[in-house]
């Protein structure tokens, strides 16, 4: 493989504590190295910002509900078609882009690793087929466990070892990466026309509460010592007053300590925290609860969050929180798609227009920013838009602009129709903090990589790590005259390297790289009870056989990378 030397760039790397110093980065055989030979190709990064490739911790970018969105929203593709150009294949779509466009857009913004946030295990094959067709970026997927019949049956009886053995089997069968929980118990209750609004609501038939599911899954996660923690979308998403349910959920992590060999410190990752930080009792007295949530997170080091920033765009909401999507279609009267996934989960899809002229939407915009601006530890708070739920991932440069520039935020607030209402319902007007490039690197690279247990591999520029590198046309020594410069610089990289291959040059795709599928192999000693239960449920309840369930082989996972876990039993 080629050798490269990236010279004179301003390097921001939280892994090594480098805060914009001019430093050369050497690349050899796909890795960052101390030095390279004189024949190495030189990349001149003078006056540019150099960071590790960014890591996406939560986005809906592959699988059946994403595709359902694509199918039932042809209008999302209208006038967005991009023609074939060089290596790039044709693409389209705004909030739900085609797989190829997804890979290109991430890469052009300097992202080199991304995680699909909710994989229905039964449709793992579909998820992996889409991951396979998303070029350049390494990807993994989180299977959903929070409404799974096996999990609820085991945890009802406090059988943590059996739960862990089932998780171990399922991660391998579906090539999954972590334990995702969406509205624990609530989506199953939705099958009965009900929901779990608090952590203490019983799930019908299973007679278990969200609280028991969450605690049991944290225990199972730490028993296995998985690279990532429990990744949770709590109950009661998106309702005024939901911050109390969120606090109840966060408190379930207390007393647990991370046990793993990957350097991960948290036991719970709260995702799209913006949607879970609402105060008030109705949409009329709706206000921000960001302070309450982030204060708790700041105090408790065993929790990480991602923001879920509302970007004020027309988008497509999609979640395994089936009852929430039904609730949403009743609010906005737009088309609704719903799907039940047998013994495991469900999903809903509804288009949504976040309008800056609607006070609730503008307050949601402010809440997402408040969370990041009030976070005391940037290594535990990551930037997402819960793509596409709060906005398309292609808006990350805009979110970074708002976080780095109080002027840009102020201009937005000034443009709101209900400016006074937004200022009264949030603290956005009094937050003058402007995040530094170092903090941005923590929130988009080093932080998420650490939370995912990948800190030895990506998210930093230390010799030995994968050579995932993003070089931005942004000179940190020059004052920013216009905040738009930030958005522009983060939109299109000067160069991007993925595992030592240059994939983007001057904002254009120059290689499709060597994309990998990341999954977690956590073998446990044979558990006859669980193997029997799996066979039995496939015989009795599943509509397909086990042999047609597993995502194996070249067709589904052509270039796998297994993170090996040694389970201490």
């Amino acid at each position: 493989m080629s050798e490269y030397i990236i010279k004179n760039g301003h390097v921001f790397d939280p892994v090594q504590g480098i805060k914009g110093d001019k430093k050369d980065i050497a690349v050899k055989d796909g890795k960052i190295v101390d030095r390279v030979g004189s024949s190495a190709k030189t990349i001149d990064a003078k006056g540019k910002t150099v960071m590790a490739g960014a890591v996406e911790i939560h986005a809906h970018i592959a699988g059946p509900k994403v595709n359902l969105g694509r199918i039932y929203r042809p209008e999302d593709k209208l006038f967005t078609n991009t023609r074939r150009k060089g290596l790039e294949r044709t693409g389209g779509g705004n909030s739900i882009p085609t797989t190829f466009k997804t890979g290109y857009e991430y890469a052009k913004m300097g992202y080199t690793t991304a995680f699909e946030a909710a994989m229905p295990p039964l449709f793992a094959r579909h998820v992996h087929e889409e991951i396979r067709d998303t070029p350049i970026i390494d990807e993994g997927a989180f299977p959903v466990f929070g409404n799974n019949w096996f999990v609820m049956d085991y945890l009802k009886n406090n059988e943590v070892e059996n739960t862990a053995a089932y998780i171990s089997w399922l991660l391998k069968a579906t090539k999954g990466y972590a334990i995702k929980v969406v509205n624990p118990g609530g989506t199953e209750a939705w099958g009965w026309g009900l929901n779990c609004i608090s952590t203490k609501d019983k799930v019908p038939y299973f007679d278990i509460t969200p609280e028991e599911i969450v605690k049991g899954l944290i225990e199972a996660n730490e028993y296995l010592g998985l690279p990532h923690s429990l990744h949770i979308h709590p109950n009661n998403l998106g309702n005024p007053g939901c911050y109390e349910t969120t606090l109840d959920t966060l408190k379930l992590a207390s007393g647990f300590k991370a046990k793993n060999r990957f350097g991960r410190e948290q036991v719970m990752h709260l995702t799209h925290a913006q949607f879970h930080s609402y105060k008030g009792t109705t949409w009329a007295d709706f206000e921000s609860g960001a302070k309450e949530i982030i204060d708790y997170v700041n105090r408790n080091k065993n929790i990480t969050i991602d923001t879920g920033n509302v970007t004020l765009d027309e988008t497509t909401t999609m979640t395994a929180d089936g009852p929430f999507e039904h609730h949403l279609t009743a609010l906005n009267h737009l088309k609704w798609a719903n799907c039940d996934v047998e013994l495991e989960t469900a999903a809903g899809v509804v288009p949504y227009v976040y309008s800056p002229n609607i006070s609730v939407c503008a307050i949601q915009w402010a809440i997402g920013l408040e969370l990041a601006l009030m976070a005391k530890d940037a290594m535990r708070c990551y930037i997402t838009t819960d793509h596409p739920n709060a906005g398309p991932f292609t808006r990350y440069p805009r979110v970074i602009k708002w976080l780095m520039s109080a002027k840009a935020r102020g201009a937005m607030v000034e443009s709101f129709k209900h400016k006074d209402k937004v200022l009264a319902a949030t603290d956005i007007g009094s937050l003058d903090r402007e995040l530094s490039l170092y903090e941005i690197a923590e929130m988009t690279r080093a932080g998420p990589a650490k939370a995912l247990g990948l800190s030895a591999m990506c998210g930093g520029l230390k010799p030995g790590m994968d050579a995932d590198i993003a070089i931005y046309n942004f000179n940190p020594e020059k004052p920013v005259a216009d905040p738009e410069e930030i958005e522009k610089a983060f939109s299109r990289c000067a160069h991007v390297f993925k595992s030592g291959t240059e994939v983007v040059r001057n904002g254009e795709i120059v290689s499709n790289g060597n994309k990998r599928t990341l999954w977690v192999n956590a073998p446990v000693k044979e558990n006859p009870q669980v193997l029997h239960d799996i066979s039995e449920k496939f015989l009795k309840y599943y509509s397909i056989s086990k042999a047609n369930y597993e995502a194996l082989g070249h067709h589904f996972v052509p270039n796998p990378y297994a993170v090996e876990v040694e389970v201490a039993e």
Binding site: R73, P74, E75, D76, L78, K335
Partner: protein, 266 residues
């Protein structure tokens, strides 16, 4: 106003996507520059000049530009696409998406149009001397935002799904219409001087539909509320008045539920 005339000289073997034929795209360009604009035939990109002879001058702005399109246009799509001002005259019949997404100006089709004419139209005027195909002034596939402004006159008949998801503007059809009129409408006005078939105003939330002739089958969700005297399209008459679609949600305004109004001539 300057006039630019394009005349079909080499008709395409496949269908031609000519979304550059509009006062907006032509304004400020010379005949040679206009002939150089891209068009698509199947998967091949060509130039407008490969198919059309281009003569005359364009104005400095769209408002000062009149485009006359002549020759056999039955296989040409998107004429008058996204036009915002000025004038387009199409001498014969044309294919899909005539005047689609137009927001101003005047588009006059001297023949008939196929489906999706004036898709999501926002303003301006579209006159069709012949017949219109299906989905006249309707929303784009999947979208819930149909025609929101402007005026359409069809001197002949129209196909199915006229004014689907319409939110504003006016459509007048001198002849008959096929099934589905004003489906999901949330505003606007559709006048049918001839006869309608069925599913008139299905899932209509708000807006007005007037039928001078017969309605073969009424929607069960429409409730008769009496008779009224109306002047519609310059003609006075007595009409049966129905409100609906009662199977659909309805907004409240000043404490009153707002319905779609359907009038049929007595």
């Amino acid at each position: 106003m300057e006039t630019i005339t394009i005349t079909m000289k080499n008709p395409p073997a496949l269908y031609l996507e000519a979304d550059v034929v509009s006062p907006d795209a032509f304004a400020g360009k010379s005949a040679a520059e206009i002939a150089d604009l891209p068009v698509y035939e199947g998967n091949a990109t060509g130039k407008l000049g490969d198919y059309f002879a281009v003569e005359g001058n364009s104005g400095a702005t769209a408002a000062e530009t009149k485009v006359v399109v002549k020759g056999d246009l039955k296989k040409v799509k998107y004429l008058g696409f996204k036009m915002s001002a000025g004038e387009v005259v199409i001498s014969g019949s044309t294919d899909l998406y005539a005047g689609a997404w137009m927001s101003g100006g005047k588009l006059h089709v001297k023949g008939s149009v196929e489906a999706f004419a004036a898709t999501a139209m926002r303003g301006g005027e579209l006159v069709i001397d012949g017949n219109a195909g299906n989905y006249l002034g309707a929303a784009y596939r999947g979208d819930w935002r149909g025609m929101s402004g402007g005026k359409i006159l069809v001197r002949g008949n129209a196909g199915s799904d006229v004014g689907m998801y319409m939110t504003g503007g006016e459509i007048i059809i001198n002849g008959d219409v096929d099934v589905h009129v004003g489906t999901h409408a949330e505003g606007g006005k559709i006048v049918v001087r001839g006869n309608a078939k069925s599913k008139v105003g299905g899932q209509m939330v708000e807006g007005t539909i007037v039928v001078f002739g017969t309605i073969e089958t009424m929607m069960p969700g429409f409730k008769p509320v009496g008779e009224v005297e109306l002047e519609v399209d310059g003609e006075k008459g007595r009409f049966f008045h129905y409100i609906g679609d009662t199977g659909e949600r309805h907004k409240k305004r000043k404490g009153q539920l707002v319905y779609g109004n359907l009038y049929r001539k007595v």
